[in-house]
Symmetry: C2
DNA sequence: AGAAATATATTACCGAGTGATATAGTTGTC
DNA sequence: GACAACTATATCACTCGGTAATATATTTCT
């Protein structure tokens, strides 16, 4: 079993390992294995404060609404946009999801 | 301006307020306003430790994979399942999303 | 049985998340 | 213009979630 890709990150490394195992065990076939390749899209780019603010602007939603959608507090969204705090892993994931698929994707 | 609903939560309250405003301003029509009613589905049920563990089991993914999908650490997923830590707002949102729509919804 | 990989636990630290509140800035209404 | 209502910005203080690193089962393959 050869490593198929240079490790983008430790997390994605784990993904490929597990995917390989699942395929070997039979949980997933070759076709579905490609689905896991789509997992490479998991790379979350880590949006900057300004990018978050612009994203919300494009969505035409208030900070309160965005906070509600993300199930977090307005205060938190605030600090993200100011740059006082950086979104955590799961928060970045959601923001990235919305950026790519739109708000509806997370409703 | 009358409050239209008993406050389910402060966040959802904010959603309805803003939605009403958007509608008044003309950003969204009556049809799309109902989309915001779908936002009531934002109510995130707060999964228990056992529920998270069972959810991952149903998905047939390892903790490493789930952690990668959620863009968080394995250690964190661990503590969720043990019950040592409770997932934050954004994490709960993602878990709830997966529970309803499946893994693909967050890829 | 032994090696390799995964899952479970433990420890310790930092900073994200949160609430509360106060202060501008905006927009609409009279 | 003045006033009201809402949104955004900012500050403070706290705590608890997120994270790394490590160690220890538990499983699985050779």
């Amino acid at each position: 079993m050869a490593k198929m890709k240079p490790p983008r990150s430790r997390l994605l490394e784990a993904v490929h390992e597990s995917a390989r195992d699942l395929h070997r065990v039979g949980w997933i076939d070759a076709r579905r294995l490609r689905t896991f390749d789509a997992l490479c899209a998991l790379e979350v780019p880590s949006l900057s404060a300004a990018q978050i603010k612009r994203l919300r602007g494009k969505l035409h939603v208030s900070q309160a609404v965005l906070a509600a959608v993300l199930n977090t507090s307005v205060s938190t969204v605030q600090k993200w946009e100011i740059g006082e705090k950086r979104p955590g892993g799961t928060a970045m994931k959601l923001l990235h999801l919305i950026e790519r698929k739109g708000l509806d994707a997370v409703l």
